[in-house]
Symmetry: C2
Subunit: 567 residues, 2 copies
Amino acid sequence: MGGNGPLKVVIVGAVACGPKVACRLRRLLPDAEITVLERGDHISYGACGIPYYVEGLFPEVEMLTETPVGVRRTAAFFEKAKGVRVLTRKEVFSIDRERKVVRVRDLNDGKEDEIPYDRLVLATGASPIKPPVKGIDLKNVFFVRTPEDARKIRDAALNSSSKKAVVVGAGYIGIEMAEALASIGLEVSVVEMFDQIFPQFLDLELALLVEKHVRSKGVRVYTGEKVLEIGGKDSVESVKTEKREIPADLVVVATGVRPNDELARAANLACHPRGGILVNAYCQTNDPDIYAGGDCALNQYVSPITGEYLYIPLGSTANKHGRIIANHIAGLPTPFPGVACTSICKVFDYTAGRTGLTEKNATDMNYDVESVIWAGPDKPHYMGAKPLVIKLTASKRYRKIVGVQIVGPGDVARRIDVVATALSLDATLDKLAYLDLAYAPPYSPPLDPIITAAHVLLNKLNGFAKGLNPLEAKRWMDEKKDLLLLDVRTPQEFSEVRIPDDRVVHIPLGALRERISELPRDRDILAFCKVSMRGYEAQRILNAAGFERVWFIEGGIVAWPFDLETS
Amino acid sequence: MGGNGPLKVVIVGAVACGPKVACRLRRLLPDAEITVLERGDHISYGACGIPYYVEGLFPEVEMLTETPVGVRRTAAFFEKAKGVRVLTRKEVFSIDRERKVVRVRDLNDGKEDEIPYDRLVLATGASPIKPPVKGIDLKNVFFVRTPEDARKIRDAALNSSSKKAVVVGAGYIGIEMAEALASIGLEVSVVEMFDQIFPQFLDLELALLVEKHVRSKGVRVYTGEKVLEIGGKDSVESVKTEKREIPADLVVVATGVRPNDELARAANLACHPRGGILVNAYCQTNDPDIYAGGDCALNQYVSPITGEYLYIPLGSTANKHGRIIANHIAGLPTPFPGVACTSICKVFDYTAGRTGLTEKNATDMNYDVESVIWAGPDKPHYMGAKPLVIKLTASKRYRKIVGVQIVGPGDVARRIDVVATALSLDATLDKLAYLDLAYAPPYSPPLDPIITAAHVLLNKLNGFAKGLNPLEAKRWMDEKKDLLLLDVRTPQEFSEVRIPDDRVVHIPLGALRERISELPRDRDILAFCKVSMRGYEAQRILNAAGFERVWFIEGGIVAWPFDLETS
């Protein structure tokens, strides 16, 4: 391996993938000459932690660069503890593939230099997209990338003259920043160009539930509104959309990121037209001596669902790429199996998570899928359960799991990970429905929510459960004047909260069999309860009595994304 | 289906599996005549919640019989809401398979009756094993099965004369009851016949960590001690073992359960010699019109690891059996895939969980396995991480996951469920190592602990990581006088807590390369740190410098089950 002398490995970028390659490679190849070049000041930092620093959950932004025992990951640390040379403020500005050297500029003194490599690793990350609107460069308009950004945002937010913040973009980072800013007392508005929050992440009905929760925390949310201009003279004063002008003392722009592939493009390495260095399963570019991993690379197909290129930049994937690259350089080839589109986001008291495809993704890709919305508690009620709303999607023909989305105050992460594991292993819905998951009252009900959701989807596929998605139910309610809404909850529940509609008939489930003659046979009946377990029971009771036009509203009151009447 | 008239289904037992069969069957077969017979007073109760009632986490034991919205599951509830007839205090005392009738005794008036069936479902549960020792019937000696037991135990525990409690048996129920009783102020001792707590559940080194935690809460633990006698005249006064006599005002006996298979045996249905009605994947006994499910049945093989019968009575499995049975009766055959030996237990601030086989199980079955102990935080340190200790086991030849055990204050359930899913789908360690699990700082580090554990085990199988299990390390320390213990933590960490041994040399990892000449090449070196990430680094650094006799102690200080020195 290599020519004369030790193998020279040059790594460009020292945030997530880069350090991982360097450290693992040092352990695998003790003699390799490993150099990491970073144009910034910070090494190996947890950029995903920025919103939590802004919120004040920990006191110093430098903690993002610490090891779990509190040692700061400086160049000296990498040299001494890891045996890896890291040079900061060194920008690689070109690659000479023929001579196998990178050209480097020192950002302190401007001096240029050449560094030879046997293997080159591009771990250049991604940069925030800067929307081309007037005012984007005003003071107090921020992007979210580095620890410096984090410190500037927090300083600006804590400034006594800062009262109002606008977040542009309602993806994870936008929503996380909105929570952070609201938590430290600012009046926060979020503006999103698409007609829902989390447009790349969740289907509409679940996004609406999360949006409801965000609003309940005092954050204003404007979806379907494009930012036309950022107003202000020196410092930002407002954000203008087609519909309104929102006063702003500070603005956080979180409209996505773009892979930093310029270096690779200039070196004539294959890149995707929409951005991203194309790599194979070993993270090799089309030049086998050059690797790319982390947010700058594109090998993140969803296996086994689709072979499409999907750009999902995440720290978890960047770390795995690092290991894949080090393994390959060291002669231990391990193919990267791709990602499952798994992501998770804390949103105040809720968690929103997803793995695999959304129903919209799947439909856009011409998959023939069936979905179900399930709502229910994440534990036995006597143990302080919290609700979850699950949307589970499977292919109709093969009954393979295609994806899941889960939102709510309950334990979302655990159920997302179960499905991420199951779909990565090509599982059918039947497999999911009988998994032996950990059960004890402090952790879950006897049948875990994800198992129950699988059961309901099987019931739907088998023709027993006739469920309507809440959005469909709402459309029927708007379009079909003569339908009947059958609320089968207890009188106590009914008195507390209701779907506000004149067509609601309230018959508790326990009285349904004896009062069945009160119901019409010639109208569509939409049954529901708190979560629609009883709604489904009601559908089966009515079917058994010969009623044919009966459906239940999936997820019931808990998953109802529209207004409810309380008293 | 059936002869003349509606299909008659008789279900014996109304705790978990029985009601599940009844309710699902009602939804699938609206016309069936379904009768549930229960010898006790309570229907459909969550027996697993008993320790939490005793602890006082909820005020009324009847909450164990409520639906999530607080409706009590009485016979009237089943009649009205579920369309199912449930008769309590009815004991089935024989089955006439030829005539297809069960003979029933009313426990109120002693009257006997016959009930005909087309399909019979045995869901008779299990009963606590009553050890044959003197004094077992004394007052204030309790078993844990029904809500009545729960109420009696709590009443006795809250009685002002109750100061000291002894729990006999250190399985889940024993440990949960010990926690409950200690939490309400009793002085609690646990006596276990085997030489560790959780003898059926965890390997020794993890059981020792949990035991340490239990002791830290003031509970005394006596393992390897058999109860010889329970002392006292009218009421219990003490528990006697070979080694001691422990004063006791109340005793809880939790030495396991035995399946209630007497009815089946008497009807000449196949049962296992050690107890349990043998059933096929559809929960049918050898009489195809008679099903058995839940704690009385035995079809709980671990797939795909072993085809052996394993008796693991759990509410989660009982509910799944219920669905399997209803499906089969309704003509929707769905084979039960078996269990993965998944279980979880809250132990004060710790959770202990396991899925698949322990290393001991696997070795006893002649599997050629490799295991690793991994310790580390369950989140980024800046987000308030809590530690986890993971023991992951895989087959050497196929690199298939065989099992995992996890203990600690961190989020155990999530990682157990990932492995339960992976091993149920026959996954290799490499698959586990690159799963796309949910990552965001409030939930996990970029590489989830279970992924990192898989990486270390792969490093071990690939010959890079030379790890020693803490028990092996301790044995080496006892047997090999001239070994050297190399603590590579920071001076700050070293000053706080240490392994008390004269052979410990302290060189922080960052200084190891320059101080390497201080170490001998002719002695075994056991490196370690807080969790042994740095211990492994040290091993690689020393290997690179030509040291061959170097190992790291897996899990480091965090997973060290023996005494530590603090200052």
